[in-house]
Symmetry: C2
Subunit: 239 residues, 2 copies
DNA sequence: TGTTACCTTGTACATCGTACATAGTTTTGC
DNA sequence: GCAAAACTATGTACGATGTACAAGGTAACA
């Protein structure tokens, strides 16, 4: 199979180099490897996606993987592009750009919620993949009614996506945070002892924000706050 | 020395457990370990901060490090708190909240530019450190003139910091991107061949944004665009 | 029927974090 | 003074990880 990342990203394209039909047929396709990796990362986190584990899941020997993907870094790019390609792209029916922007943000929050490991994939080569490009195109079209210049349109979309990404990061269950919450009575007590009466504002606001965060309703409230801010941020551009 | 993360974070506090003066005096302090780790990460990236390398830089055996820091994960938290503690906190003199918000954003961009590895430290226990809390307090005070509720004040600050963080991420020189840029003539040609005439909007906007990005002036322009958006986003809150 | 091209596999290596046992060094309590 | 206690420093070792490399097997082409 091809080793080159670009050809692997575009492996479903008619012009992509097909595997010459000599030797034995591959027991798995690159797409099967990528799908298995995505499934594994979704359920057990990106750290579980090791060559040995993934090969085991696929019934292959460890090194056979490298016939299909090139390297682990390449695999991460392929995984990201796969979930980008699979993300729904409903037609933009609404006229109101605000509603469209909200939909884009919500779709990205949903994407990162379904695949939290996306936050750990920062490889810029992801932009070369067909799924990522299709997603980019679809989201650019969401901003059609705003009448922006090309550069501003890109910048505005980046602004929305960065917000969604940051919100997803804040929601992500961190293993360290989990252990921290578990022993919070003790930890909080000691922290309070060190803090004393210093930074009263930080203590008060932090407590308020923390209480709001723990109240079950809050992630949604925080999201709506941010989303309203994003819409307000973009409004001046449309005048 | 103490092994517990909280005690290490607060090691300069009068109430922190001092090392009982029995055995030989430690050849390095925890602060020296953390400072050396920060210096190493600043110059060679976080991946270079390994136990063996760091110990070597300090003239210690590998395992001696663990007398001073507990674990690598703990070390990352200590590093983040150290740079938070060292960040300048000039008094907020301006009355205009917009100017104050811009200063906060710029300070955070500068922080992440000086220490790009901060983007890789996502451990939530960082919030327990004195440097991080002092930074939080100072930045909350920047928003004093806005007259926000506690919860909104925290959310507004989060909004600003997330923006700065995303901007820093976009600017960060990625090793993969560097190699990509190097061989771009070839890569771009093949990508164009695959893309053909599909996604014309993405191609046009992507090209425009890419051109603007490569024009040396741009990072600054993109930053100003985003910063103006952030200020516009927060303006409705002050009415 | 080679020959060629491809897939699969096993072995091996460098590197990582760090558990653990050991040994050395200084203060403390008698 | 001296043993005990508390502390630091070190070396060895283990289980992971990514992946280079060589060898072997298998199907289609000449």
């Amino acid at each position: 199979m091809a080793r080159d990342l670009i050809d692997l990203l575009w492996r479903d394209h008619p012009d992509a180099p097909r595997g010459g039909a000599r030797g034995p047929r591959a027991r798995v396709t690159t797409s099967q490897v990528v799908d298995a990796a995505v499934a594994l990362a979704d359920t057990e986190g990106l750290a579980a996606v090791t060559a040995r584990r993934l090969a085991g899941d696929l019934g292959l020997s460890t090194m056979s993987l490298y016939t299909h993907v090139g390297s682990r870094d390449d695999l991460l790019v392929l995984m990201a592009d796969a979930v980008h390609a699979a993300a729904p792209r409903p037609p933009h029916t609404e006229d109101d750009w605000r509603a469209r922007v909200r939909r884009v943000a919500e779709a990205n929050l949903a994407l990162h919620t379904a695949h939290p490991w996306l936050l750990e994939v920062t490889d810029q080569r992801t932009a070369l993949g067909p799924g990522t490009i299709a997603k980019y195109d679809h989201e650019l079209h969401a901003l059609d009614p705003m009448g922006l210049s090309d550069v501003d349109r890109d910048a505005a979309l980046t602004f929305v996506l960065d917000f969604a990404r940051a919100a997803a990061r804040a929601r992500r269950p961190d293993p360290h945070a989990a252990r921290m919450a578990e022993s919070w009575p003790e930890t909080g007590r000691r922290l309070a002892a060190y803090l004393g009466a210093d930074h009263p504002l930080a203590q008060r606001v932090g407590a308020a924000a923390g209480a709001a965060n723990n109240a079950a309703y809050n992630p949604e409230a925080a999201w709506r706050f941010g989303l309203a801010r994003v819409v307000a941020a973009l409004a001046p551009l449309t005048e």
